[in-house]
């Protein structure tokens, strides 16, 4: 008997117009790792919540058909009963961490299930071992990195000894090593016999590809296809907005370019093997590098220095050194990516740039467009440089989109005619025209992010700092967002993007600043930064999959600094295309 049996299962939320899940029929056998892929709103989270009994017991709605987990129909069992069989790990780790020490938090679940004390601590030890949290037992979860926090969330779930572990985009907020850490735990758990379902909307499709042995693609609440791990290379992944692993895209380009490719790989190792085979068949021992394979980023020129940070230091009470002498410059017209693990000081640094924090170092200085930020009034700062928070819910308050965008001009007492024109321009720039009167409460994630940027835009700051602009977006949403930001750059703005997404930095940024433990570890052109994987590792970072593929093929003459799928495809086609 399958562990999960769904038969024509549909679910519509109480206030939903359309069912979020439509006629889902599938069986999931014990011990498998299933990747549940689909863009934002496809029904992934709804399905995972249904498995736990959250639907319809906590979040009410109308269910049809059958959904049975380990022989228990979920309609008859609420989450507290299902928690003996199923554990769920949510996207944001801090939501599910409950206690103030690591070991207490792991013990929370088994204690709730009423196990004897000895059993509780045995389970805690088991989970600490599985999640590789030795030495963290007495630490405050708030002081852990994002990867460690998510490992703790997984450990809390494992301590319940579930038959089914459901993970809802568990690595989307994590730095690359954090992602690897969590995916490693998932692999160990599946080897121990538990079934794992992990959802993904695109940004981390490469991480998923390495671990799953089955893929179920959801689109608009329905199963679009259900197959083996190779189906992540299915062209329909592009059509539904999820995208494919970078290596799959490269091989697809080769096929389109007339190169005979036996199969499209989805993992790094398979891609490396595939490239070696293709080159070996043509007896190529060293690839030739065409001069035009790189994109034109290296040739772009920038204007004057408009941000200058000197010896920036910040110590939080009691004695936490968040910034330890950070110095850098930003030139007009640049897109700068700021990367680093959680807690490395990225956000603290950004808060200094807009005057929300004052440096604690005596020689620290932040100058923006010639003005010393510590001496400027907030009203003057925000017209020069502004900052868009990661969580749009921290900002949005008005009923409608138009009111929200009109708020900043109103506060700055801009004359009405001028304010109306600014609001109109902001709505158009961020694709919100046509949505002006939509209620802000029920906006999807991408529109919320656009709205939070659009509501700053009427202030016309020359420099915009945007914290995680693509988090929560699927691949299609991410591309649209970044294209919009590039248009802002073309219109004369300078952008600083704080992100965990290495692909975004590779694709769109001119320069990267790598932060680690409150210091700048590296600062330079993205190409130069990504060509030093060992130094990146010091900040828990790894280059994107396509860059790593080239670095793994260094012995064949591949350059270390390939950044995008386009570049890799051009390079390979130059060497492999028929007739060469």
């Amino acid at each position: 008997m399958a562990l999960v049996e769904a038969r024509d299962y549909s679910f519509r939320y109480l206030r939903g117009k359309e069912p979020a899940l439509k006629n889902i029929t599938l069986d999931i056998q014990a011990g498998t790792v299933v990747g549940l892929v689909g863009k934002a709103g496809a029904g992934k989270t709804t399905f995972l919540k249904a498995l736990m009994g959250i639907l319809p017991h906590i979040e009410p709605g109308y269910a049809e058909g059958d959904l049975v987990v380990a022989g228990m129909p979920i309609r008859d069992h609420d989450p507290s009963e299902m928690s003996r069989l199923v554990s769920i790990v949510l996207e944001t780790p801090e939501v599910q961490i409950f206690s103030l020490t690591v070991k207490d938090d792991i013990a929370f679940g088994p204690a709730n299930l009423g196990f004897p004390r000895e059993e509780i601590w045995a389970r805690v030890n088991y989970a600490i071992q599985e999640a590789d949290l030795h030495g963290f037992e007495d630490r405050n979860p708030n002081n852990l990195s994002g990867g460690e926090q998510q490992s703790l969330a997984v450990a809390g779930a494992l301590a319940m000894r579930p038959q089914l572990l459901a993970m809802d985009e568990p690595v989307s907020m994590l730095d690359p090593l954090g992602k690897e850490r969590v995916m490693g735990i998932m692999e160990r758990v599946s080897k121990s016999g538990a079934t794992t379902i992990v959802s993904e909307s695109g940004a981390d499709i490469e991480a998923i590809a390495e671990k799953v042995d089955r893929v179920v693609a959801l689109h608009e609440g329905r199963i679009l296809f259900d197959g083996g791990p190779d189906s992540l290379a299915d062209p329909r992944m592009e059509e539904i907005g999820v995208g494919r692993p970078q290596v799959s895209e490269v091989f697809d380009r080769l096929r389109q370019g007339g190169v005979r490719v036996a199969s499209i790989p989805t993992t790094l190792s398979a891609a490396e093997e595939g490239v070696r085979r293709l080159l070996g068949d043509r007896k190529i021992q060293t690839v030739s590098i065409p001069p035009e394979y790189r994109d034109g980023r290296g040739q772009r020129t920038f204007g004057d220095v408009i941000v200058e940070v000197t010896d920036l230091r910040h110590v939080f009470t009691p004695n936490i050194h968040a910034l330890r002498g950070v110095s850098f410059q930003i030139r007009s017209g640049e897109i700068v990516g700021v990367i680093g693990q959680n807690g490395s000081g990225k956000t603290t640094m950004a808060r200094h740039l807009v005057g929300l924090l004052k440096p604690t170092g005596k020689t620290s200085k932040v100058t923006v467009l010639g003005g010393d930020v510590s001496r400027l009034k907030m009203r003057d700062i925000i017209r020069k440089i502004n900052y868009v928070f990661q969580n749009a819910d921290d900002q949005i308050f008005a009923n409608t989109i138009r009111e929200e965008v009109a708020f900043a001009p109103e506060m700055m007492e801009v004359p009405k005619d001028e304010a109306d024109a600014l609001v109109k321009e902001a709505l158009e720039t961020f694709h919100l025209d046509g949505h002006e009167d939509d209620y802000t409460l029920s906006l999807p994630e991408d529109l919320k992010t656009y709205l939070s940027i659009a509501s700053i835009y009427p202030l016309k700051p020359q420099i915009l700092i945007i914290d995680e602009p693509t988090t929560g977006l699927d691949t299609h949403g991410e591309r649209t967002m970044m294209d919009s930001l590039c248009r802002l750059r073309d219109a004369g703005h300078t952008l600083v993007i704080i992100t965990h997404n290495m692909k975004t930095v590779a694709q769109y940024c001119d320069r990267a600043i790598v932060m680690s433990q409150g210091q700048i570890l590296m600062d330079g052109a993205v190409r130069e930064i990504y060509s030093q994987p060992q130094r990146l590792l010091e900040a828990d970072l790894r280059p994107p999959q396509v860059t790593r593929l080239c670095q793994d093929l260094r012995d064949l003459g591949f350059p270390d600094d390939v950044l995008t799928v386009d570049e890799m495809a051009r390079l390979l086609l130059h060497n492999l295309q028929p007739g060469r």
Partner: protein, 277 residues
Amino acid sequence: MARWLEYESRNTFLHKRLHALSKMALMLSILIVSGFWWDPRYLIGLALPLVVLVYVSKIPLTWFRVVLLAMVTAWYPVTLAAMGQTDPGIYKVLDPQWATTPILVYDFPIAGTLGVTPGGLLWMAAVEIRTMLMASYMFVFIYTTSMAQVTDTLLALKVPNPVVFVIAIVYRLIPDLSRVVENILSAQRLRGWKLAHWNPIKMVRRAVPLMNPLMRRVAIMVEQMTLATQVRGFGAGRPTPTQEIHLKGIDYIVIGIGVVLLLFALVGMFAWKLGQI
């Protein structure tokens, strides 16, 4: 770094050597006694052990800014209430006539003519000191006692599950709320927002950009937290306390001090009008 009203694991006497039950007993006694007493001199006496506890626990002094802010904010209504303490019957120790004779009279727009009396001034001082004491002792308790220690102790004391659950949620929610408020304030300041305005009606209107996202975020947080607890088995049965109550000698001494203080205050209040005005 601990956020405001958040436990921090540190190696202090209060964190590591005193059981949550003894801290609860001591704090509860002090809070009850501070409610009995109206003489500011006695209440200041209760502040002396507080200074020691604050020093020993290494609690961030920035936490106390909120207490000062609350005392300053409450000054006006407390003063008005103090002016109302003109019933001679409430003064047990002071000469009622002296205590209720105004030393300053002022004509207020709506409240009418009110006078400042010596008794009223002492009453006001007592309320302010008590507010400071209650908040500060609570801070010391929260900073030095983890949620697991509190819930384990309450479960061992057979406190009903729903009560323990509510306490656990509050314990978890308040530090997060302080972070959310800070983020919302920053996000709105970056759009030119400021709360202060000479016109009180406009000031209330200007609170909307703070209150709306805050209420929305609180609703989301409570929903997420409820979900997070239920998926981790809360409500599946009677939870097991993860630690047994093991009291050491020092715990018995501290609980004893609390009980003696409470009895002394009770008996003293009825027998010798101790701490009264």
